[in-house]
Amino acid sequence: DAGVTQSPTHLIKTRGQHVTLRCSPISGHKSVSWYQQVLGQGPQFIFQYYEKEERGRGNFPDRFSARQFPNYSSELNVNALLLGDSALYLCASRPWTSGGKWPYEQYFGPGTRLTVT
């Protein structure tokens, strides 16, 4: 089975521009989460989506937005890019188990390395 895929792998943008990052979850996984990992830090939670609805949001400004599509793939959008947005952006998916209980283990994609100059 294919794992979580993300595109593009690398991206260079200029301050003030906007960017769209894409994620395809593992087949059968209905939940997608986005994380930002700055150099030297652990991944920081940005959003969680399930069944096209936002289920959680981290402490990020409104410049960050996301959506989930009917096929459970997801996009992360960042507007008005700042130098501090340079980071590895990780997408993770996880299934929905019977009984409505989340398995907490997430499966991460390789990430998109965003550089803002």
């Binding site: 652990g42 289920r55 907490y104």
Partner: protein, 110 residues
Amino acid sequence: DQQVKQNSPSLSVQEGRISILNCDYTNSMFDYFLWYKKYPAEGPTFLISISSIKDKNEDGRFTVFLNKSAKHLSLHIVPSQPGDSAVYFCAANRNDKIIFGKGTRLHILP
């Protein structure tokens, strides 16, 4: 305010010996803890987890210990192998939000 802390940025261990990675947390409402391993240019890979109602979970060479009174957990790898060289992240869950520590880089020496 770091709720999940990994105070050792790096650790070097001889091949075949035990590796012990430590993690402290501040929020007593965390209900689940996880360890992830990350190689360069790859996303984190889930290793092992433990519920807050347990004090030990074992999976092959990996064992996680949880001391709730001390708000401390540790990951033991026995025996350590060269392929274990990676960055290890401790993570904690509350309300479906997972919070990661900064990571510890483990070097396995030949």
